[in-house]
Amino acid sequence: MKSVIKQEVLALNGDEAVAYAAKQADVDIVAAYPITPQTIIVERFSEYVANGEVETEFVCTESEHSAMTACLAAATAGARTFTATASAGLALMHEMLFVTSGCRAPVVMAVVNRALSAPINIHGDHSDSMAERDSGWIQIYAENAQEVYDSTIQAFRIAENPEVLLPVMVCLDGFTLSHTLENVNVFPDDVVKKFVGTRQLPQVLTHEGKTAPFKLDPENPMTMGPIALPNYYFEFKRQQEEAMKNALNMIKQVHDKYAQISDRSYGDGLAEKYHLEDAEIAIICLGSTAGTVKTVIDELRAEGVKAGLLRIRTFRPLPVKEIIKALENVTGIAVMDRAMSFGGNGGPVYHEVRHVLYGADKHPYVINYIYGLGGRDTSPEQIRKIYEDLRRIIQTQRVEEPIKYVGLRE
């Protein structure tokens, strides 16, 4: 049932939208270290703390490894926890990302996507978060600043759900989203506070033979993250996979509940279809590039070309059934990757989409376009060229080059 709540329009860039959402989500602890292009998030949040607008404990750490460690510790004590990073900062967290997901600590983190060195580059691409796709974190990729705000709020409710209990990355494209001012609809503070609620803790059996809320508490001592040898480690990893399956459902549910009060939706929360119903050719991409693709689709549709888009919003967990269903009538597919998997025969999104489609009844043509590395701009003309390639492929029924590079000087 829809009951849309009146919202205020603020001019925010993507980073500010993250900080604003985290402020409204009643976060207990923020432990962070600044890095371009995430810096604005940390700056804004520390202003909220300095101005007394939040009761959050702000922990300035000496590195991202420490920031994630502090977040993990706070989350295991039952706190609502938030941090943000980018590029090398995320890479430095690598070890602790696995510990955080393995300890089932529902930390929410904004990842402002930026290229990894070398050569050093501060601009946007997905090489940082794609390198962490197997770290046990949920990954949501936003298209614009509004979705960044909405996804950050939703992330707390997804992460902290006792059926999920997994950390969440909200990924936004460096500069394209982080530093670009947009009109963002925001809720009153109390609406967000009510939507995210207080953190729920499942009951667990402790070594004292008692059941107790899942948090580190001197009243109910328990051990989290101990050594697990070959006889138990595997079982804990299987639990994490189950949590990812539960997350698929929970992401949809939280997205739908949020849509009822915001009047905004992003497909089903897992993937968003644009003119895909009767599409013959389609692009698959993540993040802000979808905005450019939609503009090109509008032009192509006016010309009578049956072009569509599937934007994967939740890359982890990967919405396998939804991808198969969405693409069942498409003949030619171009998967756009803003990261490379060197020597891996294409980019990570391409690998996964092709892998998913192996289980489909029909096998369409699937080709890969690597684009936008190190912040290189991707123009509508280049997107149009991709659709032209797809049209040629389905007409000639031949794929000459399955993996291509957009805007690269040959």
């Binding site: 402790t206 328990m222 697990a228 138990y232």
Partner: protein, 92 residues
């Protein structure tokens, strides 16, 4: 692995322990076992203090120490620290 071990559906998340660590007998890890020469031992309790596993206990009723071989991992720190060289590490 034994049939008593639980499935992934039965255990708490994040490795939360459902039994105390004292139920995991780590003493079977050892290769060398500390054996004490009662003549040389002065009951100075250095070994009790230095044992990283808390596996050497002072028993006031006996006025003597006792090794808990269920938890002694055979590291040999006690033998190394013993001022009278009263502890010998013997191959098990």
């Amino acid at each position: 692995m034994t049939s008593q071990e639980k499935s992934w559906k039965e255990i708490s998340p994040a490795g939360v322990c459902w039994k105390p660590s004292t139920e995991f007998l780590t003493g079977d890890w050892k290769t060398y076992k500390p054996i004490r020469d009662l003549e040389k031992c002065t009951r100075c309790l250095f070994c009790v203090l230095f044992c990283p596993d808390g596996a050497i206990h002072w028993k006031p009723e006996k006025e003597d120490i006792e090794f808990d071989y269920n938890f002694c991992k055979g590291c040999g720190i006690c033998a190394n620290e013993c001022p009278t060289k009263a502890i010998e590490m013997k191959l098990e």
